[in-house]
């Protein structure tokens, strides 16, 4: 990676973090538990990297196995995280 690409990625990081702080500070405390389980799901985005990693070589290569392990772990986060968050948010009812 060259410096130019790094700067672009840093832009994304800084603006994304700023947006995150602005948006999440407004989430009411009532929803802090679903917020945490929901962010578990979002951090499962690593699955994108895992799929790329598992795709380079065949079973004789260590990188393949590491990638496959990562896919399983990240999918647990994605599917489990969204499902449990939905289950919780379904329970929140107004009178």
């Amino acid at each position: 990676m060259n410096l130019e690409a790094l700067i672009l990625l840093l832009y994304v990081l800084v603006l994304g973090s700023y947006l995150g702080f602005e948006l999440i500070a407004k989430v009411p405390p009532t929803l802090h538990t679903p917020l945490m389980s929901g962010s578990n799901a979002i951090s499962g985005i690593t699955i994108v990297g895992a799929i790329l990693a598992a795709n380079e070589f065949g079973y004789t290569h260590i990188s393949k196995w590491l990638g496959m392990v990562a896919i399983i772990l990240a999918t647990i986060n994605v599917v489990g995280g969204y499902a449990v968050t939905d289950r919780m948010l379904k329970m929140f009812k107004k009178k």
Binding site: V12, H32, A53, K90
Partner: protein
């Protein structure tokens, strides 16, 4: 990289952001979560399309295995166990980042023998380091929360110098891993060191501080995903990771403020081990007044306003459903009935709200500390169920108390305070509660679920 894939990642990022934005309103939160899930689906689909058919089968098999485990956990977990589940998922996120970065390092340095440039190299070692700490740290937090590991702070001499030494060693190993890529031993040493550091940094943190720790580890799991984004030059990982990282930091900050603790003192650990001696010195036994179920029912019946202060003890006794019944009975009598929620009630941020929502308590009845604290002084009955430290007036009055300065619910200012409690045990922080000896405080001893069921029965007959 294909422009369509990039475009799909952009859409996914936008959906994550809109999803979080919708979390700002309780009524829209569910739709927000679903939007975020759609974004994730688009990102995954685009990636699968991009990699082409080379190994679609085993990617698919891994996704099916992960989905099955995820769904099983999501539908089986009890709401009381949410903190453990979040801790576990934080750990999985961390380990996934370690695996992806290690895989990338191995692929380039060992299998393809191409040179890893310095920026990517630094990203890889950072991702492994943060991810490794997140993984084992979360596993210890999970063990402590679920009772599989001793929940007390584990402290030994030379702990902090040892951690510092391991940290410095990690930096050295990182530098060597980036410089000598043909030797895989350095990156493996770095992985081992980060896993060890995760264990060592969480074991000295006591049970009472767990809400802070899981919030912080949540943030770490986001940062790990972020650094993985730098490894792979991938924007969607950075956006998603930044959102999660920010969320974890905000929650960590809220938890620290609500306990009047600095993050540094939480991380250095040891809370809850030195406090017992302070409490013992204060000496004088607290004399309490008991109240029976009948009398308590009469107090509720004649009140015009009631505030319930729930704590984790309520969840342990599974008393939330019968409290909802009490709430309905009171509302039939036109008694104003609300719940006061302290930010650290329960074992994680917002835990009490989820437990009460599960028991069908409408969320507009749950009021935050700052919004309700002025109302206690003109409230007839405050009913404390399984909460302790969050209503201890010593936090306001006694500079010697270990919880001095912590913001509390002003339950003691109400006309009558009824405390449902199993016995005269101490709170999670191990501190005596002088509220129990106040003249306006009555103790309703016994299992919360049983006594409140009797109380509801009495009220029905009135």
């Amino acid at each position: 990289m294909n422009i369509y894939i990039q475009f799909a990642y952009l859409i996914a990022s936008v959906l994550f952001i809109i999803g979080i934005k919708k979390m700002n309103k309780t009524s829209e939160a569910r739709a927000g979560n679903q939007l975020s899930a759609v974004g994730m689906f688009i990102a995954i689909l685009a990636t699968v399309v991009q990699v082409e058919a080379l190994s679609l089968i085993d990617i698919f098999v891994c996704i099916v295995i992960g989905s099955a485990i995820g769904l099983y956990v999501a539908y089986k977990v009890e709401m009381t166990q949410m903190p453990e589940m979040v801790a576990l998922f934080n750990g999985f996120g961390g380990l996934a980042s370690v695996a992806v970065s290690l895989s990338d390092y191995w692929l380039k340095s060992q299998e393809k023998s191409v040179d890893i440039d310095i920026i990517t190299g630094v990203s890889i070692v950072l991702s492994i380091f943060i991810g490794g700490i997140t993984f084992t740290g979360s596993m210890i937090a999970w063990g402590k929360l679920s009772g599989k590991v001793n929940g007390n702070a584990i402290i030994f001499g030379g702990q902090h110098p040892l951690n510092l030494l391991l940290f410095v060693a990690s930096i050295v190993a990182s530098a060597l891993a980036v410089m000598y890529q043909a030797e895989p031993i350095y990156v493996l040493i770095l992985t081992a060191l980060s896993l060890l550091l995760g264990v060592l940094t969480v074991i000295p943190i006591g049970g009472a501080d767990m809400p802070v720790v899981i919030s912080l580890l949540n943030s770490y799991s986001g940062m790990a995903a972020c650094t993985t984004g730098f490894v792979l030059n991938n924007n969607v990982l950075i956006v998603a990771g930044a959102l999660v990282g920010a969320s974890g930091i905000i929650l960590t900050n809220i938890m620290c403020k609500a306990m009047n603790r600095s993050l540094v003192s939480v991380l250095l650990g040891g809370f809850g081990t030195t406090t017992s001696s302070v409490a013992a010195e204060s000496g004088s036994e607290i004399v309490v007044k008991e109240v029976g179920v009948e009398e308590a029912a009469m107090l509720f019946d004649s009140a015009s306003s009631v505030i319930v202060v729930p704590g984790y003890g309520m969840a342990v006794a599974q008393a939330q459903h019968v409290i909802r019944e009490l709430c309905e009975l009171c509302e039939k009598r036109n008694i104003d009935f609300r719940f006061a929620i302290h930010p650290v009630a329960g074992r994680m941020p917002g835990h009490m709200n989820v437990l009460l929502a599960e028991a069908n308590v409408p969320y507009d009845k749950l009021v935050e500390m700052d919004d309700i604290n002025d109302d206690f002084s003109n409230t007839d009955v405050v009913f404390i169920v399984g909460a302790n430290d969050v209503v201890n007036p010593a936090a306001r009055t006694n500079p010697q108390s270990p919880i001095f300065g912590m913001p509390i619910l002003n339950a003691d200012k109400a006309r009558t305070v009824i405390v449902s409690k199993r016995s005269m045990g101490k709170g999670y922080a191990g501190v005596e509660n002088e509220l129990f000896g106040y003249p306006n405080c009555l103790m309703l001893f016994g299992d919360a679920k049983q006594t409140i069921t009797k109380l509801v029965g009495e009220m029905k007959e009135m």
